[in-house]
């Protein structure tokens, strides 16, 4: 599968940046168009998808439209590949921010980063990110492999969010970006979406 350079984690700083990168994924997979899922749904930035309705929980940055004819298999697979890479970059960014944030906080006179449960969670997320990176580098990775990678990133994202406590649920925190990444996977990478291994560019 040919891919362009994945987004740098540092670029995924919030919902507006994520939305812009999502639009870039659309453009790379289907130049001049938006990719429509097998279920007929399109999710993009509200700026790009002016006919859509706001995605709940996205503070108006993303929109969804339904009822369009699905994109071609090749475009769907190319888009799925980019979505997983964007999701990975988002989890990576949230992990980096968590380490910085925890390093600045103390409890009982010591940095929260000194707590073994915290260190274990950081390591678990980093291991998941490392494995996903290696999976995405496989020339033989199928559409099913992309779905599994997305599921791994959902788990890793939820693990890293636990390091933020209540901040993870706030609109200004890291939760919204990972929530929309999960929603995009549910829309475009779902097991039941039947886009399967089409043999038209998925490997």
């Amino acid at each position: 599968m040919t891919t362009l350079k994945p987004p740098a984690p540092a670029a995924v700083t919030g919902l507006p940046e994520f939305a812009a990168l999502l639009d870039g994924c659309h453009e790379e997979a289907a130049p001049g168009a938006l990719v429509v899922s097998r279920g007929g749904h399109t999710v993009a930035s509200a700026l790009r998808l002016r006919t859509g309705v706001p995605v709940p929980g996205s503070s108006g940055t993303l929109a969804v439209a339904s009822g369009g004819p699905p994109s071609a298999g090749r475009e769907l697979v190319a888009f799925a590949d980019r979505l997983v890479r964007l999701h990975r970059a988002a989890v990576h960014a949230v992990l980096d921010q968590a380490v910085t944030r925890l390093g600045e906080r103390t409890s009982e006179g010591t940095s929260l980063l000194n707590r073994q449960l915290v260190q274990g969670s950081v390591a678990d997320v980093a291991l998941a990110l490392s494995e996903t990176q290696d999976l995405l580098a496989l020339p033989s990775l199928t559409a099913a492999g992309l779905r599994r990678a997305h599921a791994d990133l959902v788990r890793a994202g939820r693990t890293v969010l636990k390091l933020y406590g209540a901040h993870s649920l706030t609109s200004e925190g890291p939760g919204p970006v990972l929530y929309v990444a999960e929603l995009l996977g549910n829309t475009y990478l779902h097991l039941g979406s039947e886009w399967g291994d089409t043999g038209d560019g998925s490997s």
Binding site: P56, L169, L183, N186, L191
Partner: protein, 389 residues
């Protein structure tokens, strides 16, 4: 489950479930998700009536909750858990947006003297709906009660209170609540203060959230708020060793099974939603659904045991932490499963599911994070108590 339940509990469950069904039928959860202040339009509902009197002792309530042959005030932890679980099944956010004592009432009950309890309960049980808050968590310190920094400084025959609190439910809409603060260094210097939000220097603003918007979590700024000695809970009747910190710990321990019930109510609602949307579910999908039903049923039963033990005076921190952790993870697991089982795009085509999916993330950190709970479980394992009934 019902077989092991007393008739009194079963009657209460049915009574509350009817009130909760109204929330679902009217779609009020989604309405509050759009506009958390919409609770003001629904104050005549039975669910609100239940929340307003929940845990207020009968002697302060003009019209107590009566169902069948029984009268309830939900001061029993088990009955509190059942009530909150069923209301959460109706809608978690709506339940949390309601007026009533919620957590602050437990603190006042645990620490307050006769006069303080009377003043608090009479006000919250009065004709006007009264929202309350429980102000423990602070920026950068979380809910580590021993490290809080909000400070009481002596002034004349009273004090001035300054500091900040964060992630406090309903604070921006409340009339009164409890603030934990520091009167002196060390764990024995912590106090719980009953505070009126009209006091000069008190300011609270809602914090926008991606989920559980009905909880209306808020940021509180306390700028030289005047505090009289009679506002310090238990100041005249309890030693400092039995006051502020004890109140925080007792409230959190008493409330964790309630929070567990909140998570389980949402989890049950999600699984039932999947069943409603896919009545003919078969094969592996059905097995996955049944697996989570079993897990929810198991922790639910355990939670009732934990709550009953609290009613009997046996407060087991490790068991409380265990059910809270399991329920919080299950609630998230149920929403993830539902998004999977209800097909591609379900999170954009099913508003109810989308909301539950966002709401379920809150349980992880409410009443102590999973990490904190695991430490309590470990202590139970180390002492040999956790795996003993």
């Amino acid at each position: 489950m019902a077989a092991a339940e007393s008739d009194r509990t079963t009657v209460l469950r049915g009574h509350v479930a009817e009130a909760a069904a109204e929330l679902r039928a009217r779609g009020l959860g989604l309405e509050l998700d759009q506009d958390p202040t919409a609770i003001d339009r629904w104050l005549d509902l039975r669910a609100v009536e239940l929340m307003r009197s929940c845990t207020i002792p009968l002697e302060y309530v003009d019209e107590p909750i009566v169902a069948g042959p029984y009268t309830y005030d939900m001061t029993s932890c088990l009955e509190h858990v059942v009530t909150i679980e069923e209301l959460s099944y109706g809608d978690t956010g709506f339940m949390l947006a309601c007026p009533g004592p919620l957590m602050s009432g437990v603190t006042v009950g645990a620490l307050g003297d006769t006069s303080q309890r009377k003043g608090y309960y009479e006000r919250v049980a009065g004709r006007e709906p009264t929202w309350t808050f429980f102000g423990l968590t602070e920026p950068r310190k979380g809910s580590a009660a021993t490290e809080l920094e909000a400070t009481l400084v002596p002034e004349g025959d009273g004090y001035r209170l300054s500091g900040t609190k964060r992630y406090v439910g309903n604070a921006a809409f409340a009339q009164l609540g409890v603030v934990f603060c520091r009167r002196a260094p060390g764990p024995l210097g912590i106090e719980a203060v009953l505070l009126d939000t009209d006091e000069p220097g008190f300011n609270a603003e809602p914090i926008p959230t991606v989920g559980l918007r009905g909880a209306r979590i808020s940021h509180i700024t306390l700028d030289d708020v005047r505090v009289e000695p009679e506002q310090i809970l238990g100041f005249k009747t309890l030693k400092s060793t039995r006051r502020g910190l004890v109140g925080a710990i007792r409230t959190l321990q008493r409330f964790r099974p309630v929070l567990t019930g909140t998570a389980l109510g949402l989890a049950r609602a999600v699984l039932d939603h999947v069943q409603e949307q896919r009545p003919g579910i078969t094969g592996t999908d059905r097995l996955r659904l049944e697996e989570l039903r079993d897990r929810v049923a198991a922790v639910r039963q355990r939670n009732y045991q934990v709550a009953s033990a609290i009613d009997a005076g046996r407060v087991r921190a490790d068991h409380i932490a265990g059910v809270k952790t399991r329920a919080a993870e299950l609630a998230e697991g149920c929403t993830l499963l539902a998004a999977d089982l209800l097909g591609p795009g379900s999170l954009v085509t099913d508003p109810w599911l989308n909301k539950a999916y966002r709401d379920a993330r809150a349980f992880e950190f409410m009443e102590g994070t999973g990490h904190i709970q695991r430490l309590a479980v470990f202590q139970g394992v180390y002492k040999g108590t956790f795996l003993k009934d």
